[in-house]
Amino acid sequence: MEPEDQPLPGRGAARARQVADLVGPFLGLIVVVALFGAVAPEGFLSVFNAKTIATQTVIVGLAAIGATFIIRSGGIDLSVGSAIALASVVTALSMKAGHGELPSALLGVLAGAAVGAVNGGLITLLKLPPFIVTLGTLGAARGAAKWLGDEQKVDAPSGWLKQFMSKNPDLSGLPGFIRENVPDWLVLAPGVWLMGLSALTAAFLLRRTVFGTWTTAIGSNEPTARLCGVPVERTKFAIYVFAGAMAGLAGVLQFGRLTVGDPTTAMGKELDVIAAVVIGGASLSGGTGTILGAMIGAFLMATLANGCNLSGVPNFVQEILVGGIIVGAVTLDGIRHGRRAA
């Protein structure tokens, strides 16, 4: 039916669309920045403030990396906030017991991965819907955090873990010639570098590895993936464990930021995480969603919060704005995909 001379929809077209899929969230980000640039006090459009926003992105951003895999596979994870809290408490308890920074951080990541393993195990073994399972662990992991923390904040030495979220990190560990030549705008909180590195690794996982392809295949058409010999259950389990570990890492950094393990922290963060992924172009029906998109989404939300704070916009306005942006992003996406299907 198509005219003969139509160009082949090949690699170029696929790449062009990947770019097009990110244009929306990126435009949204520019609009938000421009808006506050005009409205907010001068401090908003400064290098220092950009660094602040980047640091404020880290917790949601790290968790959104894992959530991108889950949403791309057609699942959902509501337990992210609780997993972050549990990981922060576990890290604090370990630091308090004198285990040192690295082992404590690893334990925190493992605590998050354990929540993910429970999620993945229940979803694949009992064939329960992810929404229900993670709604359960949303409560259970929060409860476990309170139990471990004896229902209060866990004070602990934070050691170099607090450097992760510091906007003026201690550079004394770096070789002298770097320390002296590094431009000021590159001195970001190490957590931001960690998030960037994680995002790059995750994007590679998603696009270049068998695991990433299977993740997409499951979200795109699960029966077909199974028919083609994809180990659907094993892959799903791995996805939830990975996402749990990313939430755990976010929890370790949350401990670094607060310098206490707080069982009540990150309440409701799961919705910010899902919002970041969805604003970044993912569909909750699976098969879509990119790491870069999720990062833009997380950054957009942090920018919004920061801009509102600086210009003295009350918190409730901010909440309404975030809600509107989520619905708007999904609507735009729906219109675009509707056109594509026609």
Binding site: A14, A225, C228
Partner: protein, 507 residues
């Protein structure tokens, strides 16, 4: 040359099936099937809906095991325990609803589940070379390995599945109704590809309703009827009429009850209907006391026409007249009040509420009439209202309190019809009313429709099963690419003429 021919005769057939039986509960799906398909032939498998074709194909694909009987591939016994095992023996299935992941590229789909990798990182270079070769062999130029499947139309998607089969070294490729959703040029291309396949020694099993298509592409054929092989032969030596007779095995009048109907006034007139979801131009007049059939291929826009008419999808143009009075586009609820009911093709989701009882389903649309003085509706009231329908429709159920989920497809459909009739509908719009119903129950649905028409109800019936339309309808109109043709008396239609109209007259 002589010895070559002799040798070829002695070679065992590519696929041999002998005396295969299969029963599900009390139903004999297969009573004894024999089939022999040679290397490099297109073997057509014919039979009406419910003849056992799909059960047989599931056995060949390893999705189900036969109760008795034997299969061989190239002379070696073949008893696959799983679809994977069947695939490893070279059997590839290409189903009507295609099995692809739309978000992945062609190459990713073709290699899915058997990717070569190093440390988890995909290394698809060898697979890409192989795929490019296969696409060249198939003379495919409309897409490449990097194209996203969601960018492809149904014809191209089918070619992706064929390419996947070839990359898996399939020697037997089974096509299930391969042309039912294809445009005419895509069908031509599929024929060309199929000829290339068989020329390279692949055996193709071709399941289809379309006999002229079988005439065009098939070498030999096997006919199934009621789960048994009832005929085999060379396509070139058998006429379409002979095939039809073998498939039906009985005169059409027996299966399709028809009492005398007297068409009355025009109940519903539709002029120039167009809708956002597909229909471009549909006009018809539906009279009381008649059954008007709408035939068309899958994707022709028949369901969308009904949905637009009924206000489920947006209508963009068209005039409606109900019992002689002009009508502004009503919403579904208003239609019911006006006495017009729609039965969806998707029975499980839009026809009945599976978890509710028969009585609750039947009274669902008319429940407000059953309310007592304080506005409550008791179970007794619902069951009392539903009870008469049990006898009238010969519902096979112990009581009207039974959940609809426990009923057979045919009985579920009767419940759905009873719901419409209970709320006083006298114009029925039926979308594929016999889909997924076994042969016996179909006849009961036909009898019910005939009875309703004789009572003076106006019935519009959409179907892709041509014999049932020719058997039950008074007039038939054919839809092709969103345009509904003129309704003509069924005596004026032949199977060939209807198919030609449905495919745009290119066959």
């Amino acid at each position: 040359m002589e010895s070559g021919a002799v040798l070829r005769r002695r070679r065992p057939p590519r696929l041999q099936i002998k005396g295969v039986t299969k029963r599900f509960g009390g139903v004999h799906a297969l009573r004894g099937v024999d089939l022999e398909a040679d290397v490099g032939e297109v073997h057509a498998l014919l039979g009406e809906n419910g003849a056992g074709k799909s059960t047989l194909m599931k056995i060949v694909a390893g999705a189900q095991a036969p109760d008795s009987g034997d299969l061989w591939i190239d002379g070696a016994p073949f008893a696959p325990a799983s679809p994977r095992e069947a695939r490893e023996r070279g059997v590839a299935m290409i189903y009507q609803e295609l099995n692809l992941c739309p978000h992945l590229s062609v190459l990713e789909n073709v290699t899915l589940g058997r990717e070569t990798s190093r440390l988890g990182v995909k290394r698809l270079d060898a697979a890409r070379v192989r795929l490019d070769q296969v696409l060249r062999d198939l003379d495919v130029s409309s897409f490449t390995g990097d194209t996203l499947v969601s960018d492809l139309g149904p014809g191209d998607r089918q070619l992706v599945e064929i390419a996947r089969a070839l990359c898996l070294d399939a020697t037997i490729i089974v096509f299930d109704e391969p042309t039912s959703s294809l445009s005419a040029p895509d069908v031509e291309r599929l024929f060309r590809v199929t000829r290339r396949l068989v020329a390279s020694g692949v055996t193709v099993l071709w399941i289809s309703h379309f006999l002229d298509e079988v005439k065009a592409i098939g070498n030999r054929f096997t006919v199934l009827r009621d789960g048994e092989t009832v005929g085999q032969g060379d396509v070139s030596e058998t006429s379409t009429d002979e095939m039809v007779t073998t498939m039906a095995g009985r005169s059409v009048a027996e299966a399709y009850p028809r009492s005398s109907r007297i068409p009355g006034e025009v109940a519903l007139a539709v002029q120039g209907l167009a809708g956002a979801s597909g229909p471009r131009e549909a006009s018809f007049e539906l009279r009381s006391g008649e059954i008007l059939g709408v035939f068309g291929l899958v994707g022709a826009g028949r369901t969308e026409m009904l949905r637009s008419l009924y206000g489920l999808d947006p209508m963009t143009a068209g005039q409606l007249e109900l019992r002689g009075e002009a009508l502004r586009r009503p919403r579904p609820r208003r239609w019911v009040e006006l006495g017009v009911g729609l039965l969806s093709e998707d029975r499980a989701r839009e026809g009945v509420a599976l978890d509710l009882s028969i009585a609750e389903n039947i009274t669902l649309s008319s429940v407000r009439r059953l309310a007592n003085r304080v506005g409550a509706v008791t179970r007794q009231a619902k069951e009392a209202a539903a009870e008469p329908w049990r006898g009238r429709l010969s519902l096979r159920a112990s009581s009207t309190g039974q959940p609809v989920r426990d009923l057979s497809g045919g009985n579920q459909q009767k419940v759905a019809l009873a719901r419409l009739l209970e709320c006083g509908v006298d114009i029925l719009l039926l979308d594929e009313p016999t889909r997924g119903i076994d042969v016996g129950a179909r006849v009961e649905v036909y009898r019910l429709l005939d009875q309703l028409a004789a009572e003076g109800k106006a019935i519009l019936m959409v179907s892709s099963h041509l014999p049932e339309l020719l058997g039950t309808c008074d007039r038939i109109a054919v839809m092709h690419r969103g345009v509904l043709g003129p309704a003509r008396p069924r005596e004026d239609w032949t199977e060939d003429a209807a198919l030609a109209a449905a495919t745009g007259g290119t066959r």
